[in-house]
């Protein structure tokens, strides 16, 4: 059973890889064309925009949600009232579909309906905030929706990490008279590496897979302004009927994952080696 589950991934990836070297159109064929699909891929505007976008989206989303999430966690950690209620509020967007999230923010950022229109209605007519209609700024609209959906999770994971820090560390820091913010920044933060890594990985996986949000919020537009690799692959294998091209794009999507896993493996190997060397100095 486990072999089947694992086999699907291995065989699936193998086929994807193989078809990326063929001229497959609507259906896969065995007409090998070498690196043609990759050459075409990297000269396609649509793909280049997609790659550019995922960097912008990924870096902004991860940085903001980690910073915002940690801030929330630290503030939640101050023995505040109604902690459970606040936690529920920060976290509930994560329970909802990205389709739902996308639709909600599509409306919130709609200049004829959402925040901008409301503020105009309140008399602040010079206010301008409608990122989705401008190709230059549409990607930032997606980032806002992403932060809204994912920061709460980061908060929850980091808060659990903070609560796991040995209570004597806090007592020691208090006795030493270290200001609370310094404890959170220089003592607690390094101690919750594990929780940070968990939150980081969770966000990374979400970024690479981002598809539903785009479909619901912008459909990849305006124009091709919010194209993403995941959207590109699906378009290639469905409406564009260009399977070979889609498979080349899919293979490229695997690359960053392999790099991250390789780094992870390397880090683990080094830690193990250091532990082994520490045992026999």
């Amino acid at each position: 059973m486990i072999a089947v589950a694992v086999g699907v991934y291995v065989i699936g990836i193998a086929f994807t890889f193989y078809w990326s070297f063929t001229s497959s159109k609507l259906f896969p064929n065995n007409n090998l064309v070498g690196l043609d699909q990759y050459r075409r891929l990297w000269s396609s505007d649509r793909w280049l925009v997609a790659v550019n976008n995922i960097w912008i989206y990924g870096v902004l989303l991860i940085v903001f949600s980690l910073v915002f999430g940690y801030l929330l966690a630290v503030f939640m950690d101050q023995r505040i009232r109604q902690e459970a209620v606040l936690r529920s509020i920060f976290l509930y967007p994560f329970a909802m579909s990205l389709i739902v999230t996308g639709l909600i923010w599509q409306w919130m950022l709609d200049p004829n309906l959402g925040i901008e229109q409301t503020l105009h209605g309140w008399g602040w007519t010079s206010f301008h905030f409608s990122p989705l209609v401008d190709p230059e700024t549409a990607i930032y609209g997606l980032v806002i929706a992403g932060i809204w959906q994912g920061s709460g999770v980061t908060m929850a994971i980091l808060l659990a990490g903070l609560r796991g820090v040995d209570s004597e560390i806090w007592k020691a820091a208090r006795v030493d008279g270290i200001p609370t913010w310094r404890v959170y920044l220089f003592i607690a933060l390094p101690m919750i590496r594990g929780a940070l890594a968990t939150a980081f990985v969770l966000q990374c996986v979400g970024v690479v897979r981002v598809y539903d949000l785009i479909v619901a919020m912008t459909g990849g537009g305006p124009g091709i302004a919010t194209q993403m690799p995941a959207v590109y692959v699906i378009q290639m294998i469905s409406s564009s009927q260009n399977v070979g091209q889609g498979m080349a794009a899919a293979t490229m999507m695997l690359l960053p994952i392999l790099v991250v896993l390789a780094f992870g493996g390397l880090a683990m190997w080094r830690r193990r080696r250091r532990a082994a060397m520490g045992a026999t100095p």
């Binding site: 072999a3 920060f90 329970a95 919130m108 796991g164 794009a249 994952i257």
Partner: protein, 309 residues
């Protein structure tokens, strides 16, 4: 004995700050405390406002919405948009509302959750207690599988489903959800069983229990917490899925998320924002209910789902 001790109890906070009177007790009106609450309340508003807007808008009539007062309470409350969303909203020429999608989502979610959890629990048990050749390789591949973007394997799966004659059927979507749930769920169960003392397993073997007897009579009764986490993870994950539903389920089995997107992003006709927002809330209702009922278990599920290795 739990996998992922992501508990957030008040006693832990107490242990840190101490309970002695005075000294560490928060002063009620210090500027610092005000700042803390200010930040938290503003953040809470950021998270809550969209939901508030959705709810009030779904209760307004279209003329009132066109006035553009997004935040104001409905002048005259109407439930017609909710009825329309459920029964009459259109996608293209079909005007059956969301309820077929709701039923489809049930038909997809229930078997997918049951099947994937059964298989994953057995896999996790086998991986953590029965050391066999290649167990580590399987484990490594599973971790890898948890990270693989769906797009990388989706097309070969489409072809496989088509070859098997299952494409656009309920069976296809259930199988696909089971496959993609497998890495995370197996890791979840493996980690949980790895935290069970090995001596329990040895005691079972001394008592003469075999692979299945140890699993069903010792491990399964202990697995209530982790199964709860897995159910939460899977119900919300599968209910919220869009991509697999649109690709594998076929038009007649489209889940709620797909129908919602079609209703809202349809290009024909006038945009009925109140109906759309009611439909959106309806689609989010099931996972939100799971979330609010399960409370802390949900956080555990997410943390566990994030591959703690």
């Amino acid at each position: 004995m739990s996998a992922g001790d992501m508990t957030l109890t008040d006693t832990e906070a107490e242990a840190r700050w101490g309970t002695q009177p005075g000294g560490v007790k928060p002063r009620r009106f210090s500027p610092a405390r005000l700042g803390i609450y200010g930040f938290l309340v503003i953040s809470a508003l950021f998270f809550l406002i969209p939901l508030y807007v959705m709810i009030v808008t779904s209760l307004k009539t279209m003329p009132e919405i066109r006035l553009g007062h997004l935040f104001s309470l409905p002048g005259e409350v109407t439930f017609q948009p909710w009825v329309d969303a459920w029964l009459n909203a259109c996608t293209g020429r079909d005007c059956n509302g969301l309820h077929p999608g709701f039923l489809n989502s049930l038909k997809i979610t229930i078997p997918s959750v049951v099947v994937s959890i059964i298989i994953a629990s057995i896999n996790g048990y086998a991986l953590s207690f029965w050391r066999y050749k290649g167990a580590n390789l399987f484990f490594g591949l599973l971790v890898f599988g948890a990270f693989v973007p769906y797009q990388v394997v989706i097309y070969p799966l489409i072809i496989a489903a088509r070859e098997a004659g299952l494409y656009s059927t309920l069976a296809a979507i259930v199988i696909v959800h089971t496959i993609f749930g497998m890495p995370i769920l197996t890791l979840l169960f493996r980690n949980y069983y790895a935290s069970v003392p090995i001596e329990l397993f040895k005691a079972g073997r001394v008592d003469g229990a075999g692979f299945w007897q140890i699993f069903f009579r010792i491990m399964v009764p202990m697995s209530v917490p982790i199964t709860t986490v897995a159910v939460i993870l899977q119900v919300t994950g599968i209910w919220n899925d869009f991509l697999f539903g649109v690709v594998f389920a076929g038009r007649s089995n489209w889940p709620m998320t797909v129908q919602l997107n079609n209703i809202v992003n349809t290009t024909t006709g006038v945009r009925e924002y109140n109906v759309n927002m009611a439909a959106t809330i309806l689609t989010a209702a099931v996972p939100l209910a799971v979330y609010f009922i399960s409370g802390r278990w949900f956080v555990r599920g997410i943390a566990a789902g994030a591959v703690k290795g």
